[in-house]
């Protein structure tokens, strides 16, 4: 297999696998993507965060951000493969769930109480990993802490957080 084909296969496998960590709507998927491509330096933290941010602003499922990850990794074929990767486990899992709705839910329910903590840990890992890849000034720590408090206590919408963060970046650029 050529390098490009093996990269596409890798993207398909990682995205399909990471989809399984979206249990309960959490972003465990982000941690898997970061572990595979951001930490080894294949994808820059800025582009990773950028793709995720855009995904929060577009209509439809927010998981469409994976197409941006695929595009940054391997162009248009990468984006297409990401769509296939996210669709395969979802179509299989959700179709089975729709078919055997009453039978499956008690088995899935066994994992639900722990899944919140596992996904919280994975999101914490993704956030910490991203922060370690960026040199953050003390003032910027205050900015991040404010967002943490806002998201936690006031349930700030991710789209609003992304737009406001981008707006602050524009203001700082204009004032500098």
């Amino acid at each position: 297999m050529s390098n490009n084909a093996s990269l596409l296969v890798e993207i398909l496998a990682v995205i399909a696998f990471s989809t399984l960590f979206s249990l309960g709507g959490g972003n465990g998927q982000l941690a898997i993507i970061q572990d595979y491509w951001v930490d080894p330096g294949i994808l820059s933290p800025a582009l990773f965060a950028w793709a995720y941010a855009i995904g929060n602003l577009v209509p439809g499922p927010k998981c469409s951000f994976v197409a941006g990850i695929g595009y940054f990794l391997a162009g248009f074929p990468g984006a297409l493969v990401c769509l296939v990767g996210i669709s395969i486990p979802t179509v299989i899992g959700a179709s089975l769930a729709a078919h055997w709705h009453d039978h499956l839910k008690r088995y899935v329910a066994l994992f639900i109480p722990a899944s919140g903590y596992v996904i919280a840990g994975m999101m914490l890992t993704a956030g910490t990993g991203l922060a370690l890849n960026i040199t953050i000034d003390p003032v910027e720590y205050v900015f991040v802490a404010l967002i943490v408090l806002g998201v936690w206590l006031k349930r700030w919408d991710p789209g609003v957080v992304v737009l406001c963060s981008a707006g602050i970046g524009v203001l700082i650029h204009l004032s500098g």
């Binding site: 989809t19 249990l23 309960g24 709507g25 959490g26 941690a31 898997i32 800025a46 965060a49 950028w50 855009i54 995904g55 929060n56 209509p59 499922p61 927010k62 998981c63 469409s64 197409a67 595009y71 984006a79 769509l83 996210i86 179509v91 899992g93 959700a94 179709s95 769930a97 729709a98 899935v108 329910a109 066994l110 994992f111 639900i112 109480p113 722990a114 919140g116 903590y117 596992v118 996904i119 919280a120 840990g121 994975m122 999101m123 914490l124 890992t125 991203l130 991040v144 967002i147 943490v148 998201v151 936690w152 789209g159 957080v161 992304v162 406001c164 963060s165 981008a166 970046g169 650029h173």
Partner: protein, 197 residues
Amino acid sequence: MKNQNKQSQLPIQSICWLFFVLGCTCFGGMWAAIDRLQRELVERRKLLTTDDQKSLMLAAAMIPAPKFLAFAVMVGYRVGGIWGAVGSSVAILLPGTLIVIAACVLTITASEHPALAIVQRYVGLGVIGLLAGNAVRMFVGEGLDRDSILFGLVICLGIPVYVILHEGSLIIAACASLVLGSLTIRSDTRPGSADVE
């Protein structure tokens, strides 16, 4: 439910069009779009009852998949079988995906512009805050007894410590935590994670 299925079969092109329109017009995730979904699926097209919609939304939050996408697939499956599921999946993802790709192409094109680097930096900081804030919210939202919270704290902090400080495998940490957690943590009343995007 079986009667509902028999009465509500749709051709694949109608399913694709329905979910493409929903993919264009629903913002903010599944819970935020609940009214829009109800208007379209329950009131206008009568594909589901209100109870069906709620039940499928809860089921979508319980299976290991992005919940809005899983909800679309479950509805697609019920009204069009397996091809309905495939069609609804592709159709609901398509609008957002096209916009994401367009934005990423523009990002690469404008990568030399100095403003973009600053905007990306602050968006990156915002994403760090979002991840940490959602992690805290998900942890606090579980609302279990003291022993379960203790196990939850070990799991929640153990994963980043193992992965970042000990450079361990995230997948092993996550899978092991899920198995250990399912053996030690029990609750059937508050699925606190279901409302975090």
